[in-house]
Symmetry: C2
Subunit: 136 residues, 2 copies
Amino acid sequence: MTPQRELVFRAFFELGDHVTVDELYDKVKEKDKSVGYSTVWRNLKLICKVGLAEEVNIGDGVTRYDRVTQVPHGHFFCVECKSLTEFSVDQIVGVLAQSANDHKFVPEAFKIEIRGLCQQCQNKKTSLNTKEEVRD
Amino acid sequence: MTPQRELVFRAFFELGDHVTVDELYDKVKEKDKSVGYSTVWRNLKLICKVGLAEEVNIGDGVTRYDRVTQVPHGHFFCVECKSLTEFSVDQIVGVLAQSANDHKFVPEAFKIEIRGLCQQCQNKKTSLNTKEEVRD
DNA sequence: AAGCTAAATGAAAACGATTTTCAATTTCAA
DNA sequence: TTGAAATTGAAAATCGTTTTCATTTAGCTT
C-alpha cells in the first residue's frame, strides 16, 4: 500500500457518489500536489476491480463512479442541469431479478436510470414560458 | 433529402437494434462507397434528434443506437461476450414512473440494464471449471 | 429553366476522456 | 539489506466522437 494509493482510496470515500476521475484527481491533489493523474486513474480502477466502486455512465462522455453500497439505487438524471440523484429501487430489483431468471440470465448488477427534468429545471422552464402553447 | 441521407436512414432501419456508427457506416458503404463517415454520423444523430432512435450506453466506450419503438424494453448485457438482448419492462416502467412522480421528477426516458451472464456464457464457464471451489 | 441561398457533404483535423508506455522509484518479503 | 515485483509520474498513444472548412447539392424563387 503506497501513500499515493492510500490517498486515492481515502479521497474516493470522502467524496460523495458520481465522482469523475478529474474530481477525484483534484481532491487528491489537495493533499499532495505531486500525485499523477494516471496514479489516480489506476487506483480508481483498482477500487472498481476489488468491488468497492462501480462505473456509472449517463452517456455524456464522462464516466462517474459510485461507491458500491449495500443499498441498490437508481439514478435520476436531469437532462437540463445534468444533475444526478439517487432513488430507491428495492421492489424493482426483485422484478428485474425475476425477469433475468425467466430468461436464464444470471444477473450481476442492475442499472436503472430515469432521464428527465428535476424539480428545479421544471420550474425554470415554466417560468420562462409565460405564454403557454395550449393546442397542438 | 439528399441521397446520402436516405441511404443512412434506410440502412439504420434495415439493421437491428444496438447498432454502432461503424456498423451503420459499413452498411451504408455496401450501397455507396463514397459516403463519408461524418455524413453517416451526422445523419444518425439526426435520426436521434427527430426521435426515431435513442442512444444506448453500456459503458464500453461505444455508443449504440436503438430504434425507438412503441414497446419499451430493457437490456441484458452479457459481460462475457458483450452481447445485448432485450426484455420487456412493461410493469417496471409503471413502478419507475411512480417513483419519479414521488420525487417530483418528470421522466422522459427509462434506461433499464441488467449486466451479467447470458446462458451461453454460463455454460462455457461451468464446463471449464471442472474442479469446483466449494469453500471460501 | 436559371439563379440563388441555405443546407449537406467528405476529408481531414481537432477534441477529450481514457489507457498505455517507460524509465525511475518504492514497497515488501526473504 | 537486497532483489524482484509492484507502483509511480510524465508523456504519449488510443480511439470514439465531434468540428472545421472548402466544395457540392437541394430545393426554393423567379
